[in-house]
Symmetry: C2
Subunit: 351 residues, 2 copies
């Protein structure tokens, strides 16, 4: 099946139009006409080979919203015309304990990412998966999600990565009403963290280096703002948070944040895959605090997140773009110049 | 009340005989004739002012075993002649939430350490508390522990710090039968970690840089030994541990250890108050692992630990010393030349 999209051919190459094959649907497959695809910072890291394992040609995109075009004979959960989503995963071993528990993101045998992963299902001339910056995609039913009809489909796209990445730790660590929660960093992830923690009933504080971001944080649902460069405000806030969601996407000093936690509090890292600066054992030991990490979410929890968004009418704050402007959007994303996620209108691909 | 002990007067001074006052017992106080006192590495850090807040003259010692000499009028739990212990704490605010929950070690208003803390109870000419390298001590009933009669009193002394420091995290993180637990570092803390984790039914692996320690680890109860400098053994053990108790007492690289944990596994730091080297977010994020800290234990849990030791006949492996040899024992402790804890026979004080 012929598909059109955007790809690049090297770390320094720009994204440009690219024709390729999608597999014909097998019995368990869903073919999706892609309407929108979010632009995640991971797309940029991968396109530019900043993590060192990119396979070219490379088609990014793992925040996919579309309509079902066709389904295989054994597909029971979807039918043509339905609004669906695809996130970061399109396959996993389905047999290990995490997969059996619906924690496919922790598959012990290695999941298949929506882009840039070795394609174990096959059915095309390509060895690696191509992502959502394209007009259509064939995905195994298990990895397709139902999108509530009341959500704006374009603004729902980033829920598939930025949304689940922040929802999952808030749920796993049982954030709830009456708790004081801090969201560190206001970008694509952080703005969703505020919305979810607020909807879960927590008292939400935006923790940011940038006073200018405070006003917007309150619009998004934050009850308060803590400027992390304000030493006296940070001292006053020591030991006051039940939970911190740390969305900072680069290596940084976590010690000042750890001190903000109460006894037995946890800070979860969802952004920083780079090394953190020296971590002191002191804030851990003296208040039995924890630092943890969390990766996207499994398929059942991603569906739960989408249903939660439908119920609470939560979507992302986005800036829609023509796919012809994707390279400029990348540059703006790297500069942090987006509120809070670019989404590609895939209808522009045919223009 | 006159007391004798050993103290030093500066960071470079040796410990030597010292006469001082203990308070006369108030209604809630227990006066204890000290039989034995363990030698904790914290004693050395403090005597040498390595943490920068030592008040001189300084009497170390917070692993105290003795017999009740007298009790105040309102003391209900103890009577003269009983075998008792005193650990790292002799007072706390008793009113904050942690204190109400018996987590005095996390007192929000600052607990009083057995040595070197400002003495808020008073009753002596001294402003700071004096520890257990002495012939007697007056302690508020709440901070006195009952020692099971079946335990060797000398070998029970280090339970009051090394014991509870390792028991508390194993209990808090619910280590139990069927779990695979690693104890990192074989010193005073590590050797107790092995004994406790084994008694709790876990499969216990000693993780050490030193192959020579393997044999002794098995004698202490370890089921296996993992040499952390053996790259292939470390690779083979990736993702296999439910829980790691990290007793390394200095700053170190935690990244190789974090990779040993299973999905949702936790490593607890109990030794390192110095900065850890750069911590990578990757092992945290990709298996939802946690790193936490833990500080000694509260009074109820310390009693529970002593009762557990009575039931399972657990004590420490010690080397008994004459108090006149304390300065040489410090030098040997710093070199790691002790299996696994020095305990002072306080009867030697009068010689």
């Amino acid at each position: 099946m012929k598909a059109s999209g955007y790809a690049n051919n090297s770390a320094t190459d720009k994204l440009k139009p690219f024709e390729f094959d999608r597999r014909e649907p097998g019995p368990q497959d869903v073919v999706i006409d892609i309407l929108y695809c979010g632009v995640c910072h991971s797309d940029i890291h991968s396109a530019r080979n900043e993590w060192g394992h990119t396979h070219y040609p490379f088609v990014p995109g793992h925040e996919i919203i579309g309509r079902v075009r066709a389904v295989g004979n054994n597909v029971s959960r979807f039918k043509a015309g339905e609004l669906v989503g695809v996130g970061c995963l399109v396959d996993s071993c389905r047999e290990c304990e995490p997969c059996k528990e619906g924690l496919e993101q922790y598959c012990e045998n290695g999941w298949t990412g929506t882009y840039g992963s070795e394609d174990k299902i096959g059915g095309t001339p390509h060895t690696h998966t191509f992502g959502g910056y394209s007009d259509k995609i064939t995905v195994s039913e298990r990895f397709v999600l139902r999108v509530p009809d009341n959500l704006d489909p374009a603004a729902a796209a980033p829920l598939l990565c930025a949304g689940i990445t922040t929802y999952s730790p808030l749920k796993h660590w049982k954030v709830s009403s009456g708790q004081k929660v801090g969201i560190i960093g206001l970008g694509g992830l952080g703005h969703m963290g505020i919305k979810f923690a607020h909807a879960m009933g927590a008292h939400v504080t935006m923790i940011t280096t940038s006073p200018a971001k405070g006003k917007d944080a309150k619009r998004l649902g934050a009850d308060g703002v803590l400027i992390s460069t304000d030493a006296s405000a940070m001292t006053a806030a020591q030991g006051s948070f039940d939970f911190l969601l740390n969305t900072i996407p680069v290596g940084h000093d976590v010690n000042p944040y750890m001190g903000l936690l109460k006894l037995d509090g946890t800070m979860v890292i969802v952004g920083a895959v780079e090394a953190l600066t020296k971590v002191s054992g002191v804030p851990f030991i003296f208040k039995r605090r924890s630092m943890a990490g969390s990766l996207i979410g499994g398929l059942p929890e991603t569906q739960e997140m989408l249903d939660f968004c439908g119920k609470h009418n939560i979507t992302c704050d986005i800036e829609m773009i023509d796919i012809k402007n994707i390279n400029a959007a990348y540059d703006r994303t790297v500069k942090g110049d987006v509120k809070y996620r670019f989404v590609i209108d895939m209808g522009t691909l045919a223009n």
